[in-house]
């Protein structure tokens, strides 16, 4: 797995990013990243998106500035991130120290027939994040580098961006609750306490 040029497996990557996750808050983009964080273990501190393509990074950002004492990790795909490149500029300008964005880059639109995305043609998301002004931005190809991103997400000085090159494998789905009201309510109850249930 540490052989250079051998593509990482997405669920190994996500399991490592979420290892000993403590009170880490996680937003996942629609499609496979949603199933990946759910495969690692459903949690009220997960917000898996089932739609709203392009929302993940900005949702993580809004959460990060609302909860400056917590750590927020966005896990999304290359297609989802490409839909909201402007968000990288918006987030870099705001410079949230507690936010990490990890893009699982299989260079494909995985849910729709594995069509190639722009990253397959060489579009450098990490370079875009660097140019936007992210404090740390890396292309990740080994598990040792994934561990570094995991540690940065948990206690580093953000914002951090990682473009993790992964194998374009299609895996079985692991589904979290699909009801947005349930996802919202359980997340708020976990983060804000039982008081959040009352107006």
């Amino acid at each position: 797995m540490n052989v250079p040029n051998e593509l990482l497996h997405r669920r190994d990557v996500v399991n490592e990013l979420l290892r000993d996750r403590s009170d880490l808050l996680v937003v996942a983009g629609l499609g496979a990243p949603n199933w990946d964080i759910s495969a690692a273990g459903d949690s009220p501190n997960n917000f898996p998106l089932w739609g709203a393509m392009g929302a993940a990074a900005m949702m993580g950002f809004g959460l990060a500035i609302a909860q400056p004492k917590r750590r927020v990790l966005v896990i999304t795909g290359d297609g989802e991130m490409l839909m909201s490149l402007g968000a990288l500029a918006t987030i870099a300008v705001q410079n949230p120290a507690n936010l990490t964005i990890a893009v699982l880059d299989n260079e494909r639109f995985g849910e729709t027939g594995m069509q190639k995305t722009h990253t397959a043609a060489g579009v450098d998301l990490a370079g875009i994040a660097t140019a936007a002004g992210f404090r740390t931005s890396r292309i990740v190809r080994t598990m040792a580098e994934v561990t570094e991103i995991r540690d940065l997400a948990h206690r580093g000085n953000g914002p951090v961006f990682a473009q993790v090159k992964i194998n374009p494998e299609a895996l079985y789905f692991v589904l979290p609750p699909a009801d947005g009201g349930i996802l919202t309510t359980r997340f708020r109850q976990s983060v804000l306490g039982d008081g959040s249930l009352y107006n």
């Binding site: 393509m53 392009g54 929302a55 900005m58 949702m59 809004g62 959460l63 909860q67 947005g180 996802l183």
Partner: protein, 185 residues
């Protein structure tokens, strides 16, 4: 004719100050915006407010997602945009709708009363229909003295019943630009 074209000294509108107080009472902390001249006074008020954060967006739908995250983290916000930006938000409006989250949008209108730029008309005329098609509750203010109370009503509705609400601030409140005047040497 020359007399008619002379600029009358006009008192600066104060309704944005009233809207600022309404939003402060609603505990709004995150102010996402793609600027519009009609929002400039309100934006300046929030920029001077250390308890609020003004976030300039590259496109309006970023603000929908950001405010969904804010709600998950226990903060309230508002999205300031122009009617043209409503079209950019359509699919992203699924998020607060399906997740039963509040969303407060203040939309300054173009493409209606007194509009000079024909390119503003299609989205301006489509604004209400687009919002309502996505389930957003729409209210509208066409008189300066009604803007703050309309915003207050929409804020209560959004934050107490967890759904998206938009206030359309009519072009009549904002005044229409005269491009011919602006273009005059």
């Amino acid at each position: 004719m020359a007399d008619l074209q002379k600029k009358e000294p006009v008192a600066l509108p104060t309704w944005p100050d009233e809207v600022y107080r309404v939003l402060k009472d609603a505990d709004v902390r995150q102010v996402g915006m793609v600027p519009d001249a009609g929002h400039s006074r309100l934006i300046r008020a929030f920029e001077a407010d250390p308890q609020a954060r003004v976030i300039t967006l590259t496109t309006e739908e970023e603000g929908i997602a950001m405010l969904a995250g804010a709600w998950l983290g226990g903060e309230r916000g508002v999205l300031l945009l122009q009617s043209s930006g409503v079209g950019n938000c359509i699919n992203m409006l699924s998020l607060p709708m399906i997740c039963r989250m509040p969303l407060l949008m203040l939309v300054t209108m173009r493409g209606e009363w007194g509009e000079f730029n024909p390119w503003q008309v299609p989205m301006g005329q489509g604004t209400r229909a687009v919002l309502e098609a996505m389930g957003v509750i729409v209210t509208r203010a066409d008189e300066p003295h009604l803007v703050a109370s309309t915003v207050s009503g929409a804020a209560n509705l959004a934050f107490n019943t967890w759904r998206p609400a938009a206030v359309l601030i009519g072009q009549r409140v904002l005044g229409a630009k005269n491009f011919k005047e602006l273009a005059r040497k």
